[in-house]
């Protein structure tokens, strides 16, 4: 029984590893304006709002970025755990969620209320960071 569980867990782990988008290339045209990048998260002092961000992430982002945020390779979606992503400012992540990058398949989420987009940024910060597989990876 223990062996079966171990096998399942190993297969699951391998699945996650191989599903990760390690080949993602940053879109150099997707540049965040400086004033947008400098915006502060109005929910930064409200960590209790992160739970709502998690729910929104599961509804809106899991399809392409995966449950762990590692990015689904066949969707060409970024690994949100990478430090190259995590090092971006809250304002930059908010701008990318708001505008999307439609030429690369990332839709705009401006339909969501502003505070819900900031909740998503809060939740992105909780994703376990990993060392960069590629130094130039970024949010798609």
């Amino acid at each position: 029984m223990r062996g079966v569980l171990l096998t399942i867990m190993t297969i699951g782990l391998l699945g996650v590893i191989f599903a990760q988008n390690t080949s993602y290339q940053q879109d150099p045209k997707w540049q965040v304006p400086a004033d947008a990048a400098g915006k502060l998260n109005p929910l930064a002092q409200k960590p209790e709002a992160t739970a709502g961000g998690k729910k929104l992430f599961q509804r809106n982002c899991v399809e392409c970025h995966g449950a762990t945020g590692a990015g689904v390779e066949k969707k060409h979606a970024a690994d949100l755990q990478l430090s190259a992503v995590q090092q971006q400012s809250d304002g930059a992540l908010y701008w990318k969620i708001t505008n999307g990058n439609t030429d690369r398949g990332m839709p705009s989420f401006s339909r969501l209320p502003e505070l819900q987009r900031w909740q998503l940024v809060l939740y992105l910060r909780t994703l376990k960071p990993t060392s960069d597989v590629q130094s130039n990876a970024s949010v798609k």
Partner: protein, 291 residues
């Protein structure tokens, strides 16, 4: 035939994943939000006309299949019908609609270009838009249904997000390619916002965050034949509300009240939409594609 049915069913079942929905509550007005690429939204709606003296109650159901071709192009197929009390029920035709978003980023004012081809009969009463003087809701189906119309409809959609409010306006131009009727014009304008800005941490269906409410106005602006006048045209004001019932589905409701004596005095609209996430890639997978 059965093989195709099973194939389609498998795709539908395989696509039943979490989805954001957050659907626009409007029935007539379009905003700048397009379908996410690869997603298919199946919608079933009805327009019911409450009669005034000399008219009959009617119900006009229609189905929409809305597909996100790319991030800036959404295509939609409509199938529509109409049944009138004391008269008959008829299939009134189909429409193929395309919406294109020319600008890549969010701006204060976001334009969308809309082009639709309609192959419908004059008995059509879904009133997805009102142009000219509005539809004939008095003549019997036996007179209206044999008259077929090939129409080309274009819209300029301008839409803005101001804090949590969506404000959208549409200018409509329609040309009946089958008849020499000149160009007909119409408009739609709406604003709406979610009832809550923050998402709660728990899964709930009756939370305010799952409701979007607003108001829309729509009506005809005459035609080139009658001098672009609002004389004898129908105009409505309609509260709108959408309720996200599940991760994939939402319910929509809107009672429309006539502001003039043309058309039906009240239009009751309601419908349900269901989103199939990743539909395109699943079809491609089943057909051996790369996605």
């Amino acid at each position: 035939m059965n093989r195709y049915f099973i194939f389609f069913l498998l795709i539908l079942l395989g696509s039943g994943q979490r989805s954001s929905a957050q659907e626009s509550p409007y029935f007539v007005t379009y905003d700048h939000h397009l379908e996410e690429p690869g997603n298919l939204e199946i919608e079933t709606f009805s327009t019911m006309g409450i009669p005034r003296s000399g008219q009959h109650f009617y119900a006009a159901p229609y189905m929409e299949f809305e597909y996100g071709v790319t991030g800036r192009w959404t295509s939609e197929l409509y199938l529509e019908a109409q049944g009138t009390a004391g008269d008959s029920t008829v299939f009134t035709g189909w429409r193929l609609e395309n919406r294109f978003r020319p600008l890549k980023r969010e701006h204060f004012l976001n334009p969308v270009l809309y082009v639709e081809y309609e192959h419908i009969s004059e008995a059509s009463r879904i009133q997805k838009e009102i142009v000219g003087g509005g539809p004939d809701v008095t003549s019997p189906n036996s007179e209206l249904h044999p008259i077929k119309a090939h129409e080309l409809e274009t819209k300029l959609i301008l839409s803005s997000t101001v804090h949590d409010w969506n404000i959208a306006g549409n200018f409509i131009v329609e040309k009946n390619l089958s008849e020499s009727e000149g160009f007909e014009f119409g408009y739609a304008f709406g604003f709406a916002r979610p009832l809550a800005s923050l998402a709660s941490g728990s899964e709930c269906r009756l939370c305010r965050e799952n409701f979007i409410a607003g108001l829309e106005f729509y009506g005809g602006l005459g035609s080139t034949e009658d001098g672009f006048s609002v004389h004898n045209t129908a105009h409505y004001v309609a509260p709108v509300v959408s309720w996200q019932l599940s991760d994939n589905g939402s319910f929509h409701f809107s009672p429309g009240f006539a502001l003039t004596h043309e058309g039906s005095p009240v239009l009751i609209r309601f419908g349900y939409s269901y989103e199939l996430r990743g539909f395109g890639s699943k079809v491609a997978q089943l057909l051996g594609g790369k996605h």
